[in-house]
Symmetry: C2
Subunit: 462 residues, 2 copies
DNA sequence: CGATTTGTACGTTCACATTTT
DNA sequence: AAAAATGTGAACGTACAAATC
């Protein structure tokens, strides 16, 4: 029996009943979308409970649920059982480089640049390659997974980081981000669920959103993700996969130690998850760590990006995977890219085979060390498991702020930093931090200046 | 009231009732998946009607529908209203190059290779570039959409094909296939529907499948897709987009004439569709054609691949789009690729700016002309709207065959060709054809030999 | 800590569109 | 051309789980 006395109920959003046409749930969804996109509903507004709306519109509860689901998938709203449904805070937290910021008016400590000091060496290598007589062989579109010679180099480079895998299980991709796209598209379906650290790489979050793959945050301690929590969530949720950056989690900078790696691997095996191990920062990790993939040989996908370590501009990445995924990934490569240019793969191969690669990473580690020392002049490192050579640091805030407001405020003081909300799957009232990039300032002096501004800025507002 | 007398009903698939646990629909889906993947159900087997299965299992009809939906999304089965549900024929019709086929034992007339005669010119260009003093500038990861200079070259190249668009509405991608991925991921959501020609590019079909985007085939005549049919389907279906290759539809080789382009554009505007215009073969089209995008300036995405026209190995593509899509596409590029290597874009830019590009396409057109003449010695061209310089031809079969069987049979005779079923969204009893690639045989002699084998082969089996 | 609020998941009913007979 | 077979999509009712008070 409908109760038609809701005219006085304080509903934050009242769709126009007259505008409801069949299918009702779609009507509701588009009215809601319209009102959000046109600013009639501001971010974080709490929408009426689904039951109230259903009563008010004189329709069934699940019809409202469905309508809300559409908007949630589009990222317009988010819902929390028990508390309600809310208009999403301004969408798009992915971190990306503006198209033209040649002359920045601020010190960059947001984006993590790769210390492109190596470009001179890369340029030399390119010059050397074009003199080779097989140059034309690099220009056709055979070998979608990469030329055997390039895959051998990839194998060699992986071994350097204790990842042992056969050439048949390696593919060349167009960079780390491209590897992630490839993995998500090839091995997962819309609606699948993947476990991630509470704070994780925002571009992975956004990529998953685009593909309608749901991320489930799992709490961690100072060693990284907690195996018991992962296990509990798996028992309740039917997850398909897990994404980890164990060599230096972005943004927390935690290195996962061997014990934790083994414990996580056990849970992965127990629940048949697909492990996506992003080892982009392995070149900053001390010797002696084995990848988690090592312990789940039947169900791993291992991405070794070279954008941070060797060359960001070449857009080449290495991907290794368990046998069972070979066919799907081959297919995926073909559908997404056809292939990665062999010319680019050749450049990286040459770097690896001539030893230039080693030179580049030791240079970068040197600079990273220096910049971390500078950081410690201003702020304490709170967790001893953080990677000492990390390209970024993770600083707890003592108060709560709004993401945009905080970042904007910092920018007005001349520094660009990222607030921890960007790294959350669901924006909630978790502890707040900022991620401070150490590698994007032009030099040590600029970094020092930036950190100084930051320190004062925090003192003033706290 | 359940009728429990189905023990004798000839059901092709009987799931074990005892194995059904809650959620029922998931149980059914996984049992079905298991039986298909393990070969207990062979391709094209007709499954019991959903109603029968529901009765047999003593559950509701829609529970079965939902279970089947899961398997359909995964590509394991397909359903046709009125006729039933069937186990999908062996999945994966996308056309792709085996990883190592250096020494083929057959004549290649399946894959469409790009006539890589241009590679010498490209190699020269690369050698020239590495001597430039701005080489290092090409190695960083600024300019996700492409450096301004490269986007200018893209604009110039688009103008060459009568596509007029501002530099702000152009991005550099990692090739045509990558552009398609980008468009589908950035502008569409899982579950969206896109109109395509009855016979269309198989890699687009498979890409859409991966992203769970539904393709709706629209009939055409000798001029290409029929505007009335498109209009009718839009009125019944709520489509979000349309994908067309008007300069030389793959596989039918039809050029859409100006009248048809305008009529299709009207329908696109009427129903607010997003037009995806794939102009990969524009370099083979006579002067005087305007892209369909020209007539839908608010809702087009225009992909100009250079893989077939200039260089397949560089993996560079150009993408233009209406204002409203700029933000989403920028985001998409960042999520999928971060960017395309500027080195590669520079090579293509140099080709365009020095006039080498013109030289390459006139060379290719010359060869295409010659090979089409050879083709006409063996087979008639049936439709006068087919592109006379097409890299492939479309030959009607007089009888019906099974895709795999036909192709395998041809292969045993020493020729590789593709059967029309690969180009269908839903495999049905449409008219059958084969697509014959003219550009992949090593030279004219080999092509002639291949066509000769084909002619005899068809005579023998028909 | 237990009751209440609120969102989620699943199975059901029914009207309808398309294909086949 | 009408009837039967068959899949699809919308809306509904109920049980449950998580968050809050």
């Amino acid at each position: 029996m409908p109760v038609n006395s809701f005219e006085n109920y304080p509903m934050t959003w009242k769709p126009d009943k007259k505008q409801l046409a069949s299918p009702i749930y779609r009507s509701i969804a588009s009215l809601l979308e319209y009102d959000i996109l046109n600013g009639y509903l501001s971010p974080n507004t709490k929408l009426p409970p689904q039951r109230e709306l259903a009563d008010y519109l004189d329709i069934n509860l699940s019809t409202v649920t469905r309508a809300f689901k559409i908007c949630e998938v589009k990222g317009l709203i988010y819902a929390v059982t028990g508390s309600g449904t809310f208009v999403a805070p301004n969408v798009g937290n992915a971190i990306f480089m503006a198209d033209s910021e040649e002359n920045k008016s601020f010190i960059e400590m947001g984006i993590i640049e790769p210390l492109d000091c190596s470009n001179a060496l890369v340029a030399e290598t390119i010059k050397r390659i074009v003199t080779k007589n097989y140059l034309e062989k690099l220009l056709d579109y055979r070998h979608p997974l990469g030329m055997p010679y390039h895959r051998m180099a990839a194998k060699k480079w992986m071994e350097r980081f204790n990842m042992d895998v056969s050439v048949e299980n390696i593919a060349i991709t167009s960079g780390g981000q491209n590897s992630l796209t490839l993995i998500l598209m090839s091995l997962f379906n819309p609606g699948d669920k993947i476990a991630v650290d509470t704070y994780t790489y925002p571009n992975f979050i956004e990529l998953a959103n685009m593909l309608n793959i749901h991320l489930v945050p799992v709490e961690g301690d100072t060693f990284g993700m907690l195996p018991e929590r992962l296990d509990a969530i798996c028992r309740a949720n039917h997850l398909q996969g897990i994404y980890l950056i164990p060599s230096c989690n972005n943004p927390t900078a935690i290195i996962m130690d061997m014990n934790r790696r083994k414990d996580i691997a056990k849970v992965i095996n127990k629940h048949n998850l697909i492990l996506m191990e992003d080892d982009i920062f392995s070149f900053l990790t001390p010797q002696g760590y084995l990848p988690i993939s090592h312990f789940v040989p039947e169900r791993f996908v291992y991405s070794l990006s070279i954008s941070k370590s060797l060359s960001s501009g070449m857009r080449v990445g290495f991907l290794a995977y368990a046998n069972q995924f070979a066919e799907k990934i081959t297919h995926g490569i073909f559908n997404i890219n056809i292939k990665t240019s062999s010319l680019n793969a050749e450049v990286i191969t040459e770097l690896i085979n001539t030893g230039s690669a080693e030179k580049i990473i030791s240079q970068k580690k040197e600079i990273a060390k220096e910049r971390n020392l500078i950081y410690q002049k201003y702020f304490l490192k709170e967790n001893s498991n953080e990677n000492p050579l990390s390209f970024f640091r993770w600083l707890p805030l003592r108060q709560k702020y709004q993401l945009k407001q905080f970042e904007q405020n910092a920018l007005e003081h001349g520094i660009h930093v990222y607030h921890s909300h960007r790294f959350l799957v669901k924006k909630d009232k978790s502890d707040q931090f900022i991620r401070i990039s150490l590698t994007s300032a032009k030099d040590s002096d600029e970094l020092e200046k930036g950190l100084c501004i930051l320190k004062n800025f925090l003192l003033n507002i706290e």
